[in-house]
Symmetry: D3
Subunit: 255 residues, 6 copies
């Protein structure tokens, strides 16, 4: 770890294989990072180009774990899982020594600090179930007033047309009006670059999880707090992983 030098390295893991989205998120992360913080943006070499359901998430989780293993070997100070479903979050926490934060988790936590109720705006309707499960897992089901989907796939955010961005904007405006919510959570890492301008335009906090997660990792690092290794988040019990999972083997000394 690099705390001696005051330097901090955060591994920003895009769980899908889209380099474009990785770049958008990295840029946003760097904008909000503290001066001494380095953002190491990665995405899996193998996997799915976008994550839009339970199946995609299961695949993405492996890519996340592979990256967390690499990040741990490199001694990073924290890991961010930059997909709104937070795929592989608890598994990654087992594997990691440093803190691991999901962007849905980060955005939802931040929203509850700023408003008594928030709304979520995401991409495809089929991902709403995943968001509902996360609200429940994190304890925020009563803090979420409503969930909305723009009904466009994730990669529409990356097609250069601006159409998806326009739909997000419209949906945010409609949600502010209809839901009685004080804040909006953007439900996709690919919307990271929209948060600041929508916050200004709408006059309420519009929260992007990538930025939020960067600050959470920095916070935990500054507090010298890391993932608990007592109980279910202790390092995985070492056992021989075979075949395509051999790369996830932990090696001697349980690390």
């Amino acid at each position: 770890m690099s705390t001696a030098t005051g330097k901090l390295c955060i591994q920003l893991i895009n769980p899908n294989t889209s380099l474009g989205m990785t770049e958008v998120m990295a840029a946003t992360a760097r904008q909000v990072a503290a001066p001494g913080t380095e953002i190491w943006a990665v995405c899996p070499e193998e996997g799915a180009p976008s994550i839009e359901g339970h199946f995609d998430e299961a695949i993405a989780a492996i890519g996340v774990l592979q990256q967390v293993k690499a990040g741990r070997a490199a001694g990073v100070d924290g890991h961010i899982i930059a997909c709104f479903g937070d795929p592989g979050l608890l598994a990654a926490r087992e594997l990691a020594q440093a803190p691991v934060i999901g962007i849905a988790e980060a955005a939802m936590h931040m929203a509850t600090l700023l408003a008594t109720r928030f709304s979520i705006v995401t991409t495809l309707p089929r991902t709403l179930t995943i968001a509902r499960h996360l609200l429940h897992q994190y304890g925020f089901e009563r803090h979420c007033a409503a969930l909305h989907a723009i009904d466009l796939p994730v990669l529409a955010l990356d097609d250069g047309s601006g159409l998806a961005q326009q739909k997000v904007r419209e949906q945010c405006i409609a949600a502010k009006k209809s839901d009685g919510s004080g804040a909006i959570v953007l439900g996709c890492g690919g919307m990271a670059d929209l948060a600041q301008e929508l916050t200004l335009e709408l006059g309420i906090p519009v929260i992007d999880g990538v930025s939020a997660a960067v600050k959470m990792v920095e916070s935990l690092a500054a507090l010298r707090l890391s993932t608990s290794k007592h109980g279910d988040l202790d390092y995985p019990i070492e056992k021989p992983l075979s075949g395509r999972f051999a790369g996830l083997n932990l090696g001697g000394g349980n690390v």
Copy 2:
């Protein structure tokens, strides 16, 4: 599908790579299967030899999906995920045409039909968190009076010594006395062969999820009910999966 012939094929997927456990579970499944039901017991060629945490579960989910894909290609009438954490359940439901049942799900559902409260007896304490999350996801947190762990790894059930089996028995007896529960759910596929004799010895239902899941799949097949393809469990959106996940690609026409 084979309903024309009255034959039914259930794919019993052990998510870990242990052939011993696969056999124990297959034997139990065959004991309770209806005359016309064939149990096709499989386990992933690659993965983890036992599943004892979030990390192991993430790996196991891929093996489950690979098998579900194969099972669907073979036209099976249902899939069982035979690990008490139900790894990859919703992802598998997306991928599958037929019903998919997890053994934790099956055992918990059955328990609520027989008693107003049940206890769970499982292997390692670190897996209790997973069981608690499932209770919550399925809606049974109020039906579960207590969770207990024998504090032995999963494979101790397969070491021939009988020690783990003895501990399970003792824990079940203690739980009946202390928890005020009317039934006990066995929290590991490797305990499948213990349910019937413990039910007799304790005089209360002691429920194994493998057997329970077999009957649930048979039930759904008889009712000609299958996984909903409307909403979040619709087939995965087709997209090119790369590298070690290429084997999960769905092929033309989305099945």
Copy 3:
């Protein structure tokens, strides 16, 4: 019990006194029953012709108990309470040696195995409260996206006009569109014969509790699991019941 011969006898108890509805439900039950299963359809000689509220349910519960007592004397392998409010369910479980399944319970359980959220379509609006209470008791309040009533009495399903059936169909179609649910639960035993064709027409699981309950009883019988007699579901404490309840006295030997 008749398991030696491979024969199984399920007592299908219509809690109201309508012979027409008893027949509709018996026919549906026989359609899905396994080859060796006999459906013994009964309804109380005394009681209410239909059940549409808390008051009707209280009356129906007595009829259910009288039938369960008779069924137990006859050695049936399971009992079904075939009214969507599951009247007298826990009382019947106390009295019974064999499993007892309610049709609301059965349908709701099945729905959660096929979809992450379901809708309910029932008869009169005043029965929605009963359905809500059951969702809560069974743990499925978060799995139910919405409840709908066609605003026709139960016996309209039995008047031969087809009007009620048409309204059910329209309501199911509307619910699929509006609720984001992957499955629909039919909220009345009198709708049992509609499930299969609506499943085909709508392309999502439309679930009838009578059929579902038949398979659940068969499942429990095959697993040799029965109602727990440890705790609150133990046989009723024997005490002299007087007057019109004398027929419910248990007789010597507490059975």
Copy 4:
């Protein structure tokens, strides 16, 4: 109704057939009743001598309804269901024009007005499930710190030995010490006469539901508020009840 004369008539319905318990409860009710209030204590002529489970409750509900019908015909100003399981509560509310209060309901409500958490002390362990369901139905599951049973049958409170009373006292003292509760709810109508002296001895509110219910009915009557007849508590839909239930028929003009 008798409000013109300032007189109020409350029907105190003991759902079991024990005249002894009816008298104990009537005496307690009269002690706390306002000057103008008459307590009309009744119990069913037919039914169970004590209520100690779901089965007994189903039987008791019919006796309660018969009495509510009689009470309504007599123009009483309110009905109390004086058994801690509140058997038939919602059914009675449908049937009644005046308010209907259960003693578990009354005691639990009062307890939450006096302490942030309360404990329950009841008779047999098997009735704890019923109490838990009521806590849930009324919304007080988070307000109840613990439930305790003295493990003696209801009628032990009526055997003149004082043993059950002594056990209740000991259990209340133990509960105050162990649970961190500020109040205790007595979980049986037969304990009604113990509340005042235990309140003095323990120095915390020990609440009897019979007394509490008397004051609640008086309160609602004074406010001219009665059971809502809009929605699920509207009068039962009139239909011919047959056999032993004919006595519950409502007569022309819906009463």
Copy 5:
């Protein structure tokens, strides 16, 4: 205390400084009070003229405590906090010897005794969050079907124009139609005088918390039950309060 004489003194505390509202509420309270009950209506000399948010509530709580201290010194038999947010309720219970009832609490409790679901009609939308928190604290979140705001400030009820009253009436009528609720809770002490006529006009219970609280205090006094002094509601630990809070110092003997 004045129970020897049969006299009862209830301190009705309007937490805001509006004398007009204090009078409206006092008049309503006196209408429903029992013959021997005296209503001592007070409001703080210092504070906010109306309470329409979290900030106003914090200020109001001090006024409430000052009045409770005075009421306790005067030996009143109970205190009512007559603002729908129940500001300072638990703090007041610590300070008081007699029972303390909030009007939101009173109205919500009463509503659940009369209907399985109720609606709330209040003033400004921003107070809905407070009502939601109370529903949760008291356990009634599942009993409340919907919350509505007329979007007028509290003091509009006191401006003599009748406009706010007309809006309340319209909103109640709309809520009865749309929510499927059997009762309506009026969400402001300033609506106290509307309950009786709306109950008659709408044909469902429309509940005012001021009246409800009067009867609750009378009930507790008659039962000789008072706020528990065991646990978190015990008298405040004595410590020197300084500055503008010196008036809240408890004096010797912890009272």
Copy 6:
């Protein structure tokens, strides 16, 4: 605001009047603050010397609001309410332009990022009710495995004897052993200086809310996110506050 210069000013509000505790907390805050962050530690001039119940909290809330008003006038970038009950949190958010964070809130949020379940160790048992309410309000009731009290008053932490510190340490060790929790939340601002050494000694995260809140405010400031002014957290409606509350008047132009 001072973001142009890269400087950040956080107002650390100790809601009690103890200068000793203010200093302990300020020192801890400064230790974790980022280089450019200034900690402005204040406590009310008037109020209670320690906060150990609902009554103390109500008084403390006014002190908090007075300080928030001053802080807002001074243009601080965020406010921390440094008492584990988070007194006046939502009221402060209404009043503030900048973010407001409570230390219980901060510690609980952080704990859920590091462990699936945490325990709380606090001072007096009577404050446990407050902690339970906060767990519920924030959504973390399922994440908290157990709550413990050392049964010493808050100021024992400030008496120089080290006895309270020793008890905290012992309770933390016991909690780690008994609760199956992965992290511990320290339940009093006066324990702020213990977190780091206990984290090292116990080998699990032991979390102090003061430090956690500092990082949360820094995070929100960096993200340019502030308390929502849409809905219930909008600035208080301006109205003349009288007497001792005149100092809280907002002045023209609503600040």
